[in-house]
C-alpha cells in the first residue's frame, strides 16, 4: 500500500514540476519565423549580422515547417488569435494578398522608403502590393525552369527546345532511341498541389493566355486555355510524361531525373544544387533553360515565380524595429551572403552581377537570366480568395489529366466556380 501511494505522490509531484511554465524574459525581443531548412545556414548568420547592425535587439529564430501549407496553418491560428508573435514572418509569394486583405500583416510605407523598393524585382514585389501599399519585402526568389539532359540531346543531334512542340518531338526521339522502359520523356510536379497550378499557368502563358484580361476579367476558358491543358493531357496520353507524374511533387521529379530516368524536368530552381552535386549521376549532362512557349509566342513570359518575402505581423508590439530588421535582412549584402551560403537566388537583380556571387555560384546568374520572363501567380488580385481559386484550378486541371473530364469541360467548370467565388 505504502509503495503504491508514494508512487502516486511522486507522479503528481513530477507532473506539478513540469507544469511550471518557463519564465518569460523581459528583454525587447523579436521573433523571426522562417523555415528550418529553407533558409538554412544563412539564417543564423544574417540574424547575427542584423542584430549587430541594429544594436539592442535580440532576435529569436522560430524554425517553422518548410512545407508551406503547414506553416500557413500555423500562421492562420496565430493571426486569428491576434498573437503579437512572431513579429516577422516569411510569407510565400502567394500569401501577401490574402494576409493583407485580412489585416494580418502591416503595410510598410511608414517604415520603408519608396526609393528603397526600386531595388527589388518589380514582378516579385507586385505580389505584395495591395491597394497602393507594400506589405512584404522580397527575400529570395525561385521559379520554374526547364532542366534537360544536354548529353542525350547531343547524342541524337537535337537542339535545346524552345517551344513545346520541339520539346515533345525531342522527348519522343530520345526515349525511342534509348529503348529503355524506365526512361521518361518529361517529368514535372503534376500531383494536385500548388505546383500543378504553376505548371498549367506556365503552359497557359506560353500559349498567349493571361489569367485576367486587361480589364481584370477572368480569362481562362479561352483558346489558349484549352490548348495548354490539351497539350498536358496529350503528353500523358502519348507517354511523354509517365503516369506517375500525377503523384509527383517537385522532389519526386528531381529524383527520377537525377537517377537518369528522364530527359526533361520542369520544376523550381532548388534542384540545381542537387543535380550538379558531386554525387549526382547527371552532374555532367544536365543544363537548364527557360520554360518553353508554344510556337509563335516567343514574347510571352513563362517563368512562373515562387519564393518568399518578409512581412511584419500587424499585431507586433515593435513594428518599426521589425521593419528595420527586414530592411537589413534583405539588403544587398545580406542577399550576397544568402546566395553564397545557401544558394538562395537574390530578389535584387543587381546581386546577380556581384563578383562574389558570379565566382562563388555561377548557377545563380544562369537562373537569374530566366527571371527576365518572370510572372507571378494572380494572388495579389484575388486576395482572400486565392487559396480557393488555386484549389479549384488544381482540381480541374487534375480532372482533365486523369481523363475524368475533357479540357474544355474542366476549364468551363473552373471558370464557373471561380466566378461564383468572386463577387
Amino acid at each position: 500500500m505504502f509503495r503504491k501511494r508514494s508512487l502516486v505522490i511522486l507522479m503528481f509531484a513530477l507532473s506539478l514540476a513540469l507544469m511550471i511554465p518557463v519564465a518569460a524574459q523581459d528583454d525587447v525581443e523579436l521573433t523571426l519565423s522562417i523555415g528550418a531548412r529553407g533558409f538554412g545556414d544563412a539564417a543564423p548568420v544574417l540574424i547575427e549580422a542584423c542584430e549587430e547592425e541594429a544594436g539592442g535587439i535580440s532576435v529569436e529564430w522560430e524554425r517553422i515547417s518548410d512545407v508551406p501549407n503547414e506553416s500557413r496553418s500555423i500562421y492562420v491560428t496565430n493571426f486569428t488569435a491576434r498573437n503579437p508573435k512572431p513579429d516577422i514572418i516569411a510569407v510565400d509569394v502567394i500569401w501577401p494578398g490574402d494576409f493583407a486583405a485580412r489585416g494580418w500583416i502591416a503595410p510598410l510605407e511608414d517604415y520603408i522608403a519608396e526609393d528603397d523598393l526600386a531595388d527589388y524585382l518589380p514582378g516579385f514585389l507586385a505580389a505584395a502590393q495591395v491597394g497602393g501599399s507594400t506589405y512584404a519585402i522580397p527575400l529570395y526568389i525561385d521559379g520554374i525552369h526547364l532542366f534537360y539532359r544536354a548529353d542525350l540531346l547531343d547524342k541524337y543531334g537535337l537542339d535545346v527546345p524552345t517551344t513545346w512542340e520541339e520539346l515533345i518531338t525531342a522527348a519522343e526521339t530520345v526515349v525511342e532511341g534509348e529503348a529503355n522502359p524506365d526512361l521518361a520523356g518529361f517529368v514535372s510536379m503534376w500531383a494536385k498541389i500548388e505546383g500543378l497550378f504553376m505548371n498549367w499557368l506556365a503552359f497557359f502563358q506560353g500559349a498567349g493566355g493571361a489569367f485576367f484580361d486587361a480589364d481584370g476579367n477572368l480569362n481562362i476558358n479561352t483558346e489558349a486555355g484549352v490548348k495548354s491543358l490539351s497539350t498536358m493531357v496529350g503528353m500523358l496520353e502519348s507517354g511523354v510524361a509517365p503516369e506517375s507524374v500525377l503523384t509527383f511533387r517537385p522532389n519526386d521529379a528531381r529524383v527520377l531525373f537525377q537517377q537518369e530516368r528522364a530527359v526533361f524536368l520542369m520544376v523550381q530552381d532548388f534542384v540545381w544544387a542537387e543535380l550538379t552535386s558531386d554525387e549526382s549521376p547527371v552532374k555532367d549532362g544536365v543544363a537548364l533553360t527557360r520554360v518553353p512557349y508554344f510556337e509563335g509566342n516567343e514574347d510571352t513570359n513563362t517563368t512562373v515565380i515562387g519564393g518568399f518575402l518578409l512581412a511584419v505581423n500587424a499585431n507586433s508590439e515593435n513594428p518599426d524595429v521589425a521593419a528595420d530588421f527586414i530592411k537589413c535582412f534583405t539588403s544587398y549584402e545580406s542577399q550576397v551572403q544568402a546566395a553564397l551560403i545557401q544558394g538562395k537566388v537574390p530578389t535584387r537583380p543587381a546581386v546577380y552581377d556581384d563578383e562574389r556571387v558570379v565566382e562563388g555560384d555561377p548557377g545563380i546568374a544562369a537562373l537569374g537570366a530566366n527571371f527576365v520572363y518572370a510572372f507571378a501567380r494572380p494572388s495579389a488580385q484575388t486576395g482572400t480568395s486565392y487559396p480557393e481559386i488555386s484549389e479549384i484550378m488544381q482540381t480541374e486541371v487534375s480532372a482533365a489529366l486523369l481523363g475524368e473530364k475533357s479540357p474544355e469541360q474542366a476549364l468551363a467548370d473552373a471558370e464557373a466556380q471561380i466566378l461564383a467565388l468572386m463577387p
Binding site: 494536385k192 503523384t247 482540381t395
Partner: protein
Amino acid sequence: MKHANRAGIYFLVPAVLIIAFVLLFPIIQTVILSFGRNSTSIFTGYEYAGLANYQRLLKTPRFITSLNNTIFFTAVTVPIELALGIALALILNRRFQGKGLVRMAVLFPWALPTALNALMWRWMFNTEFGLFNSMLTDTGLAVERVNWLGAIPTSMYAMMFVSIWKTSSFMALLLLAGLQTIPDDLYEAGSVDGTNRLTEFRFITLPLLRPATLVSVLLRTMDAMRTFELPFNLTDGGPLTSTETLSLYAYRAIFQYVNFNLGSSAILIQFIIIMSISVMYIVIIRRGDM
C-alpha cells in the same frame, strides 16, 4: 449498493472541468461559428448568417464527395477490421510457443503513430521507387508499375488497406478483453456436450462477445468517420478529391481558406452523422438483447 451517493458527484468534478475546458467550450464556439459569416471568433465581430453555411455545403459537390468518401471508407474498413480483429483475438486467446512475439505483432501496428505510419506506407506505395511495385514487377505479377496513390480508385483502396492493417489490432485488443471474460465453465459445459469448435464459436463465443464487439465497433466507427492524418500524410486527399475525408475538407476550409464558419458547419454535420450512427447502433443492439 442501492443507496444514492452524493460523493459520486464530487468525484466527477476534475474530469468534468477538464472536459468542459478542452472539449465543451470549443464545441460551443464551433456551433455558434457555424451559423456565422466572416467571423473567426464569437466575441469580436460575429455576424449571424442563419443556415447559409449549411445550405452552401449541401450544394457543394466537393463536400458531398468527402461525405461519400468518409462513409464508404468507414463502411468498408470497419467490418473487415472486425473480422480480422476477431481472428487475431482468437489467436491471442490461445496458449502456444512464441505467443509473446505474436502479441507484440498485434500491439505494434496499433501503437504506431498514424502520421508516421502513413509516411511509411507512402514510401512503400511509391510508384517509381516503392517496394510493392518492385516486388510486382520482379515476380512478373505486373508488367507496368502500378500508380497506387496516383490513380482512382487504387488510392482509396491503398488508404483502406493501411487503415485495416493498422486498426485491426485495436479491434483485436478490445475483443480479446471480451473473450477472456467468457467463463471457462461455459466451454467446459460445451465440451461435455460434445460441441465442436465451430459451433462452440458460433453459440458460445460470438454471443458472449457481443458487448465487446459493440464497444470496439462503436469506437472504430467514430474514429473512421473522423479520419484525418491518414489521408493527410498518405494521399493528401488525392487524386482529385477521391480520398478526401470530411475532416480533411473541414481542415482545408478552416486553415487553408480561413473560412471558420463553413468549416465549422462541415464539422457539425460530421458530428451529427457520427452521433446518429452511434445512437442507431446502440439502439439496434439493445433491441437485439431483448
